[in-house]
Amino acid sequence: MIDHTELSALARRASNGDEQAVGEVLRRLSPVITRTARLIVGAGSWAAEDAAQEALLDVARGLSRLENPDALWSWALRVTSTRAVKIARREAFLAFRRTSDEVEGIAAESRSERMQALRDAFDRLPTRMRAVVVLRLYVGLSEAETAEALGCAVGTVKSQLHEGRRRLASMLDKQGFAPLTINAEEEQDEQKRRSSAADG
């Protein structure tokens, strides 16, 4: 569990050039930065591992220029998401990720056909949609924080997450796996949101 008060204090020291604090900040943020970048790009590929390393480097480079140490957490995730989305798009890695570019251990064969199908479906989501899903459901950012990290509107986060879940369900359904959640209320909320956005 990240202690944000302590993290802010460390960020202040790091932004003032305290190398020990820089190291400590990176040590504490490494798991979330690494795994966020990895999941956005696609766990199991070297491109994802490269993205994780580059995201860590981006954060390390930017620490000295951090204007608001209290915003370290969201800033680091924004930097990470930006780097991961950029690499995911550049690599167009989905076409070859499980062939020669496989990282042993993470890309190991699934032991559950359903999980494998879900993973394949997740990999086929557009990059930004994957980023929304990862930030919301894995990192646990709020809709507002996710929007800030990805530089988009809160409404976009809502709709991307909903659309992501719908596509995952659809792809699983097509492969014969019993879904999922049937949530009429949620669907109605989404339709209302769309109508209101269209009216606005």
């Binding site: 190398e19 490494s30 690494t34 860590l56 390390a60 993470i106 459901l137 669907e187």
Partner: protein
């Protein structure tokens, strides 16, 4: 699909998606490409100081166009930025430590070409033909086991066949900082079935053993002829017959007790962690 007259669409279950993401979250730090093990091994230390990182990238990179002296050569072990040095016919893999090494006398010189992706101030260096570097002893360590490169006291090169993960390895604490790490059975990996196997060691680079299985008892998944990757960790017991510090050589016939390490969610194959290694 309808329910109570409302037209609804299916959406994937949030908890199921979360389980998927947790299952593929992987280790806490980036994994290094096989031939770039030094960078990937300790990225936090590496990025902690950019001057040190630049120095390390420049000095430690060894690529396949490297030259070498009569007693020492260097070679790439993977694409961009190799991390091994071959000295007197033995491959040494470089890995960053968590503390500064105390180094001693120089004992050999090697030619270390720079990485193809080496950068200074963010720009690649053109026409760089590499540098001559000196191999130096690490205090208290026989250079046949491990050495350092002059100018970088945070990377130790370990001879193949030794396992710094094992608690009794003399540099163990320098790498891991504690006698409790690395423990493969952490929160992201639960203990599974344990069984014994016999096999031939194909390689023993820093980090794991690659073994061709000859026989296995108690496991349906590990069949004779299969090549498996086995991870030692801090709890692995090495037979005294391997010496102190323990060393296993490629081609050796080994008896290994392993325990499966199961990632959450059952999404991927278990890792095999050695609990005991003997002849």
């Amino acid at each position: 699909m309808s329910r109570n007259g409302d037209q609804v669409r299916l959406t994937a279950d949030l908890e199921e998606i979360q389980a998927l993401l947790r299952a593929y979250e992987g280790p806490r730090e980036p994994i290094l490409r096989p031939r770039a093990a030094r960078r990937a091994r300790r990225p936090i230390v590496l990025v902690g100081g950019f001057a040190a990182a630049a120095l390390a990238a420049g000095i430690l990179a060894v690529i396949d166009r490297a030259g070498g002296g009569p007693a020492s050569t260097s070679r790439a072990t993977s694409g961009r930025c190799a991390s091994t040095i071959v000295w007197r016919g033995v491959t040494y893999s470089g890995s960053q430590t968590n503390a500064t090494l105390v180094v001693g006398d120089r004992f050999a010189d090697v030619r270390l070409p720079t990485c193809v992706d080496r950068t200074v101030n963010g720009k690649p260096v053109e026409g760089d033909t590499g540098v001559t570097a000196s191999l130096v002893k690490i205090q208290g360590i026989d250079p046949s086991i491990a050495f350092a490169v002059a100018g970088d006291n945070e990377t130790a090169y370990i001879a193949a066949g030794y396992f710094p993960q094992v608690r009794l390895f003399p540099l163990h604490r320098l790498f891991y900082g504690t006698d409790e790490d690395p423990n493969e059975f952490d929160a992201s990996c639960a203990p599974g079935n344990g069984y014994r196997m016999r096999g031939t060691l194909l390689s023993a680079d820093f980090g794991h053993l690659t073994v061709r299985v000859e026989s296995a008892s108690g496991s349906d998944g590990v069949q004779p002829g299969r090549v498996v990757r086995i991870l030692p960790d801090v709890h692995t017991r090495m037979s005294p017959e391997f010496g102190n510090p323990s060393r296993v050589n490629s081609g050796a016939s080994l008896g290994i007790a392993v325990r499966e390490c199961l990632p959450p969610g059952g999404a991927s194959s278990p890792k095999l962690v050695a609990t005991e290694i003997g002849p």
